[in-house]
């Protein structure tokens, strides 16, 4: 199977990319001015105590040595201990990352589930009212800052209308589902706890929409313009001349072609969404990686910063690997 060989080869390419990521992450985070030993020891610690901490954390060694220790820990699944709370970073990631992933995935589903149909509709109803409304909707999305949108959503749907909850992942009275993935909606489904699932879903709607809006708008625009491009192609005339129905022409013949640029944007958006989640989490008090990372940066908690950055990079690289594989299926002109 050529396609399997292609996937394997692409997986191998991921390794040097990740190695590069570790180098970048390590040296850039050490370029942050400040003395971590001093941070750990506190402002009133004696010079001797600071030096002691520096030695015990290995912070007195040259940077390349520190990097090698970091990487050798990494390959054993050890991201080091947080300087701030002294817990293994891996444990922290297990606690906080699933919430961020869940939010990102929910936002992605919204992006695709709403953006693609809207884009198709706008292309088919080009220059009609539907198209104009879609345009207003997406221009608004692209040009609205997330922090403002988040506050407005809270004001309207939580405070004034009271339709949706304003913070957290579950109501206080609701027990979290048993942990498989750490994503409450998914875990609740797996455990068959429908009430918990509904509650978790209820909580994720506002933050997910807030996070997705920009990319939802971008995807709508991309789908619209690529659909309009494809619908003007000769092979669409051929399809019409062959007697195919308009629905099949649009949803099968045109859509499959317009998916190629859409998938590219989707892959790129995913990374952006994960990074952007930090702001959204702050607004909606979503207990994800966002707060953890901001705290880590403030404390110069290098293991924490690097652990988070590595996870985001890993997800990003894997998503784009998936995109490349989907490409190979979508676009027969790609050689693999």
């Amino acid at each position: 199977m050529r396609i399997l060989r292609y996937i394997l080869r692409r997986l191998l390419y991921v390794l040097p990319v990740l190695l590069g990521v570790t180098i970048l992450v390590f040296f850039i985070s050490h370029a942050i001015p400040g003395d971590p030993a001093q941070m750990i020891a506190g402002p009133k610690a004696s010079r001797q105590a600071v030096e002691e901490i520096r030695r015990s954390h290995g912070l007195d060694k040259p940077l390349p040595i520190q990097y090698l220790r970091f990487v050798s820990g990494l390959v054993q699944g050890d991201l080091g201990r947080s300087i701030r709370n002294h817990r293994p970073v891996v444990e922290d990631l297990k606690d906080f990352l699933p919430a961020t992933l869940e939010l990102t995935l929910a936002a992605m589903i919204l992006c695709l589930g709403v953006g693609i149909p809207l884009g198709i509709l706008a292309a088919v109803k080009r220059n009609k009212l539907t198209d104009h409304l879609t345009r207003v909707f997406s221009v608004f999305g692209v040009s609205t800052p997330v922090f403002w949108l988040g506050l407005m959503l809270l004001l309207l749907f939580y405070r004034n209308l009271g339709w949706l909850p304003g913070s957290g992942r579950l109501d206080i009275m609701v027990q979290p589902p048993p942990q498989f993935t750490g994503m409450y909606t998914l875990d609740a489904l797996l455990a068959g706890q429908w009430a918990t699932f509904a509650n978790a879903l209820w909580h994720i709607i506002l933050p997910a929409f807030c996070l997705s809006y920009v990319y939802l708008a971008i995807i709508t625009r991309i789908v619209r313009s690529s659909m309009i491009g494809v619908l003007g192609q000769d092979f669409i005339t051929t399809a019409r001349a062959n007697g195919l129905s308009e629905a099949i022409i649009v949803l099968k013949h045109a859509f499959k072609n317009s998916l190629i640029p859409t998938v590219t944007i989707t892959g790129l958006s995913f990374g952006e969404l994960m990074g952007g989640a930090i702001l959204t989490e702050t607004i909606f008090a979503w207990p994800g990686m966002g707060k953890y990372v901001v705290d880590s940066v403030n404390y110069l908690d290098f293991p924490g910063i690097m652990g988070f950055t590595l996870m985001v990079s890993l997800v990003y690289v894997l998503v784009n690997l998936t995109v490349d594989v989907i490409y190979a299926f979508l676009n027969p002109t790609i050689r693999y």
Binding site: D234, T237, P332
Partner: protein, 335 residues
């Protein structure tokens, strides 16, 4: 017009308008044309004279907006194709009347395999299993002399050459056994040698299957090679329809004469260095000349030409012309 032979498709007074930023373009003006069973009818004229629009109007696939069929009838098997429902029309398209296009490079969908696209059309119009559809597709590819048809079914358009793609198009469009094939400059984008092959295949298959072909081209050489009759269009109007030998030996309309004179070498060895060209340019279709649209370029222009639109009249059995100056009463139409 022609009263002998069975008429398959009859276009009467077809007028098509296109809304443009400059104004309403009168792209087709009261065009009449009959296509007979089993014949290859050439449709010639300069770029922009409305040949493609005429063919697309038959299938009702002109882009709308901006295009609009304003008036006329297209009768086919007792039905007016311009009046039937869209659903009924879809049963005609690709099934009873099918069409191949100029650009083989872009006429096939790049993301579906050849087999996939052929089977889709076959199963759309015929109640057959997937396996049977594959068999029909294979058979059609063999008939267009495709080397290794089984492999071609699994290939994507970008893996085929222009000539092969056009053969796939011919195979696909003939797979439902249509009565009429509209061929819109199917060989214009191909190399001359490949052009010859494709023409030969098209003519042979049309003959074997008794399919009528409306063959649009601006290449008079191709017309002479494969057509039975020729229709000549100028600026959205039909100017002359004749049997092919008759048209070349005794063109009646001044425009047709100009076209034939413009063929390199047609004037004999002496004329080879001075290629004839018709003076003037094609008029715009938004505000076309009154009367006969050819009159500003015509050598024989008379007063009536600028006032009245000439109607098609019969010169004799197989020759019609729309011209005030070369009607049946005059001698100049005949050699």
């Amino acid at each position: 017009m022609l009263d002998y032979g069975k008429t398959l498709l009859s276009i009467r007074d077809l007028s098509v308008r296109f809304a443009t930023y400059q104004g309403l373009a009168r792209v087709l003006e009261k065009v009449c044309l009959d296509i007979k069973s089993g014949e290859i009818l050439g449709l010639v004229g300069e770029t922009g004279c409305g040949k493609s629009v005429l063919a697309r109007s038959v299938l009702r696939i002109i882009p709308s907006p901006p295009g609009k069929i304003a008036a006329g009838t297209i009768s086919y098997q007792g039905e007016d194709l311009l009046q039937i429902s869209e659903t009924r029309m879809r049963q005609v398209r690709g099934n009873r009347i099918s069409m191949i296009f100029q650009e083989p490079m872009s006429s096939l969908n790049p993301v579906f395999s050849v087999g996939n696209q052929m089977r889709e059309v076959i199963r759309l119009h015929q109640q057959v299993s997937k396996k049977e559809a594959t068999r029909i597709a294979l058979d059609m590819l063999r008939q267009v002399q495709m080397p290794d048809p089984a492999a071609v079914l699994g290939k994507f358009p970008h893996e085929l050459s222009g000539g092969m793609r056009q053969r796939v198009m011919i195979a696909m469009e003939l797979s439902c056994g249509p009565d009429l094939l509209l061929a819109d400059e199917p060989t214009t984008a191909l190399d001359v040698t490949v052009q010859g092959q494709v023409l030969a295949i098209l003519r042979r298959l049309a003959g074997e299957k008794g399919v009528s072909v409306l063959f649009i081209t601006h290449d008079m050489g191709v017309v002479a090679q494969i057509c039975d009759r020729v229709a000549v269009m100028y600026a959205g109007q039909m100017v002359e329809v004749a049997e092919v030998k008759e048209l070349f030996s005794a063109p009646a309309h001044p425009y047709t004469r100009g076209l034939i004179s413009a063929i390199p070498g047609a004037e004999g060895e002496k004329g080879a260095e001075h290629l004839y060209s018709i003076p003037g340019v094609v008029p715009g279709l938004i505000d076309p000349p009154e009367g006969c649209r050819y009159h500003p370029r015509c050598e024989k222009k008379r007063a009536v030409c600028t006032e009245q639109t000439p109607v098609m009249v019969k010169l004799h059995a197989d020759h019609d012309v729309a011209c005030h100056c070369c009607g049946p009463s005059r001698e100049e139409g005949r050699p």
